[in-house]
Symmetry: C2
Subunit: 420 residues, 2 copies
């Protein structure tokens, strides 16, 4: 098949004709395109996603759209983000092997990535709404966050290589701009695309009226926009994780950028907390307590595993220019306390990012299904208000959270409160 | 004159032949090269610098050397730094007009910049050693630091433009690597190129034995290496400032990079403090107290002017995505306290960078003339020890310095102490 000279949207009907000649695809699904089955499964905002099943196997075909799907073509978005997504996938594969989809084929002009299909995995958010537990989830997520954070930083990477990578990713402007606006700024004023559940007006006004809170949120925006500590996934929530009952993988790093080491785990924690606060609408009283406890335990264990893995890498892979052994071990000094101080800083950042993500998912444009599927808007408002109140507490008093148990204990308090 | 195809070092003898055909040069100094007078004045470590005087005027011709002059050709250094220097000069000229040399000509292949000559300005460090005061110095330096910090950040710049600039400057690897190693790491272990004054062994061992101090220094290294808040000069010390008795300009931004907003003013403060601590070796008792007081007053006023100018820009030029008016003024809220909090963070960073710079200038490779010209090594050690002790205090307890008067008061205490 000839290379297309201009971008053209894929469809389930044209997919076989357009990809049938690519060995990278036919090797995996089989060459007889008449036996290909294609279904579009994209439920995100920015892309077409197809499952392509053939006699030999199944792959995912993901194509970037030139606009934000949720809003339509009034919000154009550059196709080059597919380039950054496949670059991010390569780096994550290298830094956290086996935890992200393998890339089989990339077509820059068509903004198209053919990659590994996970089966029988489903999106974790759906499992959290359905009340299903996932074994090994904190182990996988803690390790993923620690490995990508550490190995993408100058704790590990050679500075020249890391700086070249920062230069490369600085070409990705529009995608980080979405995060910058939707996450950090829009929730805190009456932005055009905002919406929130009826009944929340009073608490929303309270949040937007708090100048200190907004100051702290903007300080974290400055950190995200300016602090290139490591390559972050950039959008690590329960909709970017696919799980079976015991195996989990991370997908969709199209928001990847260089950013603070605490960003991913903070955003992830927020999404677990929103799953937690939403549970009273999804569970019978009989199951509620146990499942909520499992979510908080997942948060605690994810951080525990993050810390354990980070400390392991600190001891075994600290080859970059930061905190070099010449200053500590080579002078006969332990650097354990130094590593703890780095982890304490990461926790501080994570807690602040967490609080902001909790706000934007109920106040800004892109809400999440945990709350959004609650049809009783009165109940939804009560649960979202707990989430908003705790988010504010985390942003304003992040320094009081010196360990993750303090955060989950705080969640239990807010879960019992009424903030309407 | 034909463009050279390969880099060739300039000399006073070849300069007329090589630049005599350039209108950008002849327009300013005159076309009759037989009347040109050339003298080499470079006293830095990395470059050839010529003063080219002709019948019409005088210009500076600066050419990067492919190695570190101080060390020799065993330490190669890429010529592309001249490209970044002239890019930095353009940006500084735009952001702080009239405070840096105008660029008349740039030749990438020859790593050569022809620029404005300042007369009768001399290097400020020489004036500080000679005990000369400079009027308007804090006004100029405070404004320079505030304008370049603010206007190079996303407080002011459009994010796309700023990110493109970060990408451009991320190509400059070796020059920041010098700062990273010589300033933040080498002082704190027995690095090969280190040297220090005899008599300091005990205090040096104490500093190098303090794991918390090294942890904090490395945290600041991570900030410098990862935090692209604004384009910093990168090497703003009294040797990068040229002054008459009332007019001052900033030169030599070849260490420019994107970094923290507090970096330049912190490094600058350290160099004033070293001038301060070195004074007992350069002044009679009759002049000592007054001149030391003038230096501390210069530090205080520089910060005062920095704060005043930053607040002015905050009110008048806050057009970037950070701390937008939509979150404050447009909601009827003052953002004055928010600006104060940003300034408080800048001060914290500045104080920490200051302490580190105070250490590296007496412990690492590149010392400065304030101390280095003191021939009595016993006296030099006593004065350097005060500087080392205060540097350690600043690094360890930067959070106790909440205003600049606390820093100058601390300097007076250390100036009266004996730390050998």
């Amino acid at each position: 098949m000839d290379q297309n000279n201009t971008y053209e949207k894929l469809s389930a009907d044209t997919l076989a004709a357009r990809l049938g000649g690519l060995a990278a695809v036919t090797d995996r699904v089989g060459a007889d395109t008449s036996k290909w089955m294609v279904r579009e499964v994209g439920d995100g905002n920015l892309n077409l996603v197809f499952v392509l099943e053939g006699p030999k196997g199944t792959v995912i075909v993901k194509q970037a759209l030139p606009y934000v799907r949720l809003v339509g073509d009034s919000w154009p978005l550059p196709l080059y983000r597919a380039f950054f997504e496949h670059q991010a996938l390569f780096r994550q594969q290298e830094r956290a092997p086996g935890m992200v989809p393998e890339v089989f084929h990339f077509d820059k002009e068509q903004a198209l990535i053919v990659m590994e299909f996970y089966q029988p995995h489903i999106i974790l958010r759906g499992k959290l709404i359905a009340g299903e537990t996932v074994r090994n989830l904190p182990e996988m997520l803690g390790a993923f966050c620690a490995r990508t954070a550490f190995r993408g930083s100058e704790l590990s990477m050679a500075s020249a290589e890391k700086k070249a990578d920062v230069g490369l990713f600085s070409g990705n402007v529009e995608i980080p701009a979405i995060t910058e606006a939707l996450v950090f700024t829009d929730p805190y004023y009456d932005a055009e695309m905002n919406h929130h559940t009826p009944g929340l007006d009073a608490i929303v006004a309270k949040v937007r009226g708090n100048a200190l809170l907004k100051q702290r949120a903007q300080k974290m925006l400055m950190k995200l926009a300016s602090n290139t500590e490591t390559m972050v996934h950039g959008d690590l929530h329960s909709g970017s994780i696919m799980s079976t009952d015991s195996d989990s993988r991370v997908i969709d790093p199209e928001f990847a950028q260089y950013g603070p080491m605490g960003f991913d785990i903070g955003m992830l924690t927020a999404n677990f907390l929103m799953a937690y606060f939403s549970q009273p609408a999804h569970r019978d009283a009989a199951d509620l307590v146990g499942y909520q406890a499992w979510i908080l335990e997942t948060i605690r264990e994810t951080f525990d595993n993050f810390n354990t893995e980070f400390k392991h890498l600190w001891k075994t892979e600290r080859t970059g220019m930061l905190y070099p052994k010449a200053l500590f071990e080579d002078q006969g000094q332990s650097s354990d306390a130094v590593c703890e101080s780095v982890l304490a800083d990461i926790l501080q950042d994570a807690v602040s990012f967490c609080g902001i993500e909790m706000h934007r998912r109920v106040l800004s444009l892109a809400h999440n299904a945990d709350f959004e599927t609650i049809e009783d808007t009165g109940l939804r408002a009560r649960l979202e208000a707990r989430n908003i109140a705790m988010g504010a507490e985390l942003i304003l008093n992040s320094d009081t959270i010196t360990n993750i148990a303090a955060l989950t204990a705080m969640a239990e308090r807010f879960n019992a409160g009424d903030y309407l």
